[in-house]
Symmetry: D2
């Protein structure tokens, strides 16, 4: 294991110190996006009746496997985010039927906690979003007038699990391990699967074993795809890319000059949705590598993302 | 129309004033539930691989029709509930890639706003819930230790729209109109459909035409099923019952002594989930009466319900 | 009364349309402030043992008159601000003494609601604050690293009520009436009082008669000081300037090109604290024009202001 | 020091195990209160012009000493209470004067965090409050219809610091040390002071040295008055009793069967306000034992308490 880590580090440390390994493409290079200058849906354009039918055909037994984590105060939070729940004073309604009611008040970043789906208002490069839309043109005190998560709708498509942990023969990839294009390709070959345009690609790192058990370690770093793997995935033209870690990508990036570059590459440059903090242990354990993926982002107007409770069906 | 209302009123006003039209069954009468004394899933017990396969077989074109409302400050709120969104100060991360991040803080009753799914911790009779569980035994300051909505999971089943508004030849049923068993039966006959155990039964009243247009009227009263219709529906053994109004049931109840008795009948007595504030206009307009219903309650631990974004697929 | 308004309008409408009546002084003109380039306290520098002793000497009877409004959901709110209170589920503690506890959760802009005290992090001109400090240098996701309201401390000083409503012989000045330097001077002369450096100057407009009675009108406009009166007051070197309206100043400004210029003049240019939404009816009715003023801003770290409950003592 | 602790423990451990050292007086014994059956002000009845004048006469130098802690995320919180601050997205107003505004959203138990003043809606015995008012008669979903903290008003009176830490020759009393009537009396004698009816009695334990430094220890236990000392203090007829710890009283109580009995004794039985989490180090260090105390509870309608920023003036 130690040898394996050293090998990895040897690969990712840049030969020349301070040479930046990735730069955000210029506006001229990245805009308009491949979906057109006015496009706001990005990779969700793949969601069509055909993708639903393709997913439906993968359903053989009807078994549902949940891939969303439970939302509670014990889960890991990034930065100052929170999910605080207050049970309101129980109240009795008027009426001879003595009906009592209960409900709870939530305070939290409902777009960015738990298992969550990222939209295009979430990330910028120099105040510029997907398709070079300017942040100041769409930001209001109560949300964003473009790219709101309520526009995405339910996504149903073929899901493919790429089990990189299994490929490496470990239960959990090491902290800050960068998944490479070769890792993805070898894992797919091992699983005898190929990606198709419009797939939901889910990457198993094993990192969710730390969820609610060692939250400090969970959010401090994580294994995940690097820029090269992200670029290769983007070429496969997926509907979304997800993982069982907090940012999908490796963190911190091996190039320490870069702050979560895959977030920018996927959301700002490529218009590809991310699905974070998945719970993929059951899919991995049962070797469910191909399935129907169903995820329903909440219709929260103008949001940067949505906490979700996705499932795989086989 | 006026004649129609008068006719209805003639039916529902009890002959003898002050005679209570419905009483909550005693603990001995209603417990244990038909699913067993320890059951906590109620009608969600119908969710099995078979219900998924049955729903899947109804998918012909792959077309998705959204039946959830958009969550924003313009929607109607019941009582003091709210959905307040604050865009946080935009922040720039460290790093040469100049990555900006956006997110929003939500304050709201996330279990009980917008299109929402009701669990069994939501309602009581004299401090007693489904299967005669005592409220004080399961209530904590931060949720409920039993019946939490995180246990329900995604529901996928045959969905049936019962279009009562169409049966009556109106776009919207009158305020406080009580839907009767005969209404439901005649609407089904007109649609040439019968209910099956495990169905998701959605009732179209047309009331959502007021959504975000006349919120005061939307929440003041509504057409919906009365106790008799609820009892008939419960006998059909559904997975859930929903409607395009705020409480599924008629409000106020024609028996003014009763406070939302169908809530108690469904959630406390019968263990049947409710799905409120649906947007059914598109299904009704296109006469989509049978479909695959997919709803993913959030996995919010210990909650009384969950805001959702369900879909119908045909 | 009508004549009076016309007269006023004649005074305040600029002779030349579109000629801007006030411009924010340049950085070179306004910085450093008169308290020095590194000063963060502004007018609160007047708070010293001497001001306490001066105030103490004004206490003759010991009678306390409250000049703060009650905080509740019925009060007027500016924009999207709120004060939402949720009584938490009552809980019983362990122990043979059967001790129950109650508490409430608040969601609100506690720095900027109700009767409230404004600090210097609240307002900017082109991203520049008091003493030309740059907003981006002191703003964090959870407050401001400079000018935080926790640094101000309790203020105790001579308070002077300037009753402009009484001067004009009305209970309430008209909507959007601009109080002029002459109004202030005549009112003081009528009250046989002069201002002294370090005074808390409170201006009675009568506008708080609308508080919780006609909130829509209360926040839509208000009578208050214009730029000229603000400039005259600043020359008198007060510890703070307050009024019984929401922005102290006239709103909208008669020069419709300007957005609350007195806020900028007082907080950004002059470093003078504001005290808004006061309840001055009792002081006015009893003709208490000189008194000890006591106000205790909360010690909320990094805040732009603080809701307060000030008093006058005579 | 060790000897000292052992001595103390010898005093407070009851001779007979399981014998309860204190019982809540019956309703007949404790109601009506000494202020009358309809009284809602309790010890705040001492707040009169005379108490203001008495306090004013103690002001010699005009020096203000702050005895409130700063409110921030680093402070200790009891249980699930919080004080979360979100800086809102900075916004630019319309207008040629380029006026920017900043404000922050707070989520927190504003009645029960930081240095805070306790009202009579905060505590119960078997659902009964001060003057035997029933909780269910006054509790609503958004506060309490009686005993709301907005009714208390500013309190100004003679303040007396009882420095028990100095009496014992320590900087901080030991964890869970119970302050006895003898301790109070000896400390007063040492300071050559006697209590008068209507005083604000503040007890220095030194415990606030842990504030924001060792929060876990700060809230786990604390030195403070026991039931006997509380009873002796109540006989002295104070306006309020405060301390530099979180519950004023010793915690846990030496009688482990009792849950914060002094809270019940003071608030439910005796109608005496409490002032918690004070910062008394400066008063103690400068031996300021007698002073004018000024505290302004916020006028939050129907609240159980209020966070405050009190001062001592000498």
């Amino acid at each position: 294991m130690k040898q394996f880590i050293l090998l990895v580090l040897a690969c990712v440390i840049p030969a020349t110190a301070h040479a930046q390994t990735w730069q955000v493409p210029t506006a001229a290079e990245r805009c308009p996006s491949k979906w057109g200058a006015d496009d706001t849906r990005g990779s969700a354009n793949h969601m069509k009746p055909e993708s639903v039918l393709k997913a439906t055909r993968l359903i053989k037994t009807g078994e549902v496997i949940e891939i969303g984590q439970v939302l509670n105060a014990a889960m890991p939070f990034f930065g100052t985010r929170r999910f605080d729940v207050t049970t309101k004073r129980t109240f009795m309604n008027d009426g001879s039927n003595r009906r009592g009611s209960n409900e709870e008040l939530v305070v939290g970043e409902m777009g960015q906690i738990g298992t969550q789906f990222d939209g295009f208002a979430h990330q910028t490069h120099e105040g510029s979003l997907y398709n070079c839309v300017k942040l100041d043109d769409i930001a209001t005190r109560n949300g964003f007038t473009k790219f709101g998560i309520e526009k995405v709708g339910s996504l149903i498509t073929r899901g493919v699990l790429i089990d990189v942990a299994a490929l490496k023969g470990v239960e959990m990839l090491p902290d800050a391990y960068e998944i490479t294009p070769a890792d993805l390709q070898q894992a797919l070959a091992r699983q005898k699967l190929t990606l198709q345009p419009g797939d939901a690609v889910l990457i198993h790192t094993g990192w969710s074993r730390l969820w609610a058990k060692d939250n400090a370690r969970y959010v401090k770093s994580c294994p995940g795809i690097g820029v090269a793997a992200a670029a290769w995935l983007a070429k496969q033209d997926p509907m979304l890319v997800g993982a069982d870690n907090w940012p999908v990508e490796v963190a911190p990036n091996p190039d320490t000059q870069l702050s979560l570059p895959v977030h920018q590459f996927m959301l700002v440059v490529s218009g590809i949705h991310l699905l974070e903090n998945l719970k993929l242990d059951e899919l991995a354990a049962e070797r469910v590598h191909e399935f129907a993926l169903v995820v329903q982002p909440l219709k929260m107007q103008g949001f940067t993302g949505s906490t979700v409770a996705p499932i795989a069906i086989r």
